[in-house]
């Protein structure tokens, strides 16, 4: 495992990302990761806040269009996150903080699919709000904020 992490870290790409003085290497990838975070967690927050009772005048049906926007943010972060991991694989791949962050993301994605199915997936009933959708919204908001907590904490390990 350690050998694999080391070979990732010392690969051409890993070395370039870590050591290149170019503004297009590490700084650009980190910027993309931050933009993706804002788009994904922010878009998610709009839907969650609405489901939790803020902005009730906003009809839920058109908010389904937020999902493609959120997925763009998600994939920008998946790809930029993978790049950041490769550049620092032996540290990130061996710390519990990173594993916790990955776990939070996996649970968060599962909950987001469940949330979408609960609110938008009822073929006959149209868009529905239930105690379940509210609970999923609260859990989703909390989990993505926890993903930020662990992500930020990684700067200190």
């Amino acid at each position: 495992m350690m050998e694999l992490l080391a070979s990732l870290e010392n690969s051409g790409f890993g070395t370039w990302l870590r050591e290149s003085p170019s503004i297009w290497a590490y700084p650009a990838v980190l910027t993309l990761h931050t933009i993706g975070l804002g788009v994904f967690v922010g878009g998610n927050a709009v839907l969650d806040l609405r489901l939790l009772g803020w902005g009730r005048a906003i009809p839920l049906a058109p908010l389904e269009k937020l999902f493609p926007v959120m997925w763009i943010g998600f994939w920008v972060n998946a790809v930029s996150g993978l790049a950041l991991f490769v550049g620092d694989a032996t540290t990130k791949g061996t710390t519990w903080v990173f594993m916790t962050k990955l776990g939070i993301i996996v649970v968060g994605v599962v909950l987001l699919f469940a949330l979408k199915r609960t609110v938008y997936g009822q073929s006959n009933a149209g868009v529905v709000e239930t105690p379940t959708s509210r609970a999923l919204a609260a859990a989703s908001l909390a989990l993505w904020f926890l993903a930020i907590v662990t992500g930020r904490y990684m700067a200190y390990v």
Binding site: A57, L63, Y153
Partner: protein, 166 residues
């Protein structure tokens, strides 16, 4: 000019509040976390409103979209408060840093743009209920908002790379 700024930074760094921010072992990471919470609330909700102004999600009344704006303002407040904490704690990292001035410039643009919209266009646009239209100026405002917040993040991220801030 630079000397005056450096003197100011040195004075600020010497104050007891600046030292307290640097010495507390948990405060800086906590502020970083809150800074990013604020960032995502602001980008998500302001971005949602900007997209609506640009004609996306037309079935959402603009007046309804606006009702989430207190959360964007709360996010901005959180980011601003923690940002000021960083500046007071380590003013020397920012005072000679070109990225800091890039960030401040776009913060000013983004905020003036938002204030301008709220003062001159908000009620007019809200009155147009569902048609999704609006003066072209409003679409320009939405684009300026998205672009300037993007550059706030960009220059914020550049702080440690162009200058020396952590």
């Amino acid at each position: 000019m630079n000397e005056t700024l450096d003197l100011f930074a040195a004075w600020l760094r010497g104050t007891s509040i600046s030292e307290a921010i640097r010495v507390a072992p948990w405060l800086w990471p906590l502020c970083e976390i809150l800074h990013f919470f604020g960032l995502s609330l602001l980008i998500g909700i302001a971005g949602f409103f900007d997209l609506r102004l640009l004609g996306f999600m037309k079935r959402v009344p603009i007046s309804a979209a606006w009702t989430l704006m207190p959360w964007a303002k709360f996010g901005f407040g959180l980011a601003a408060l923690t940002g000021v904490t960083f500046f007071i704690g380590a003013p020397d990292q920012y005072i000679d840093n070109p990225a800091f001035y890039g960030k401040v410039f776009f913060l000013i643009v983004a905020n003036l743009n938002a204030v301008y919209f709220e003062a001159l266009y908000r009620r007019q646009v809200e009155a147009r209920a569902l048609d999704g239209g609006g003066p072209i100026a409003v679409k320009v405002i939405a684009v300026v908002s998205i672009v300037s917040w993007f550059f706030v993040i960009y220059w914020g991220r550049m702080l440690p790379f162009i200058g020396n801030a952590f």
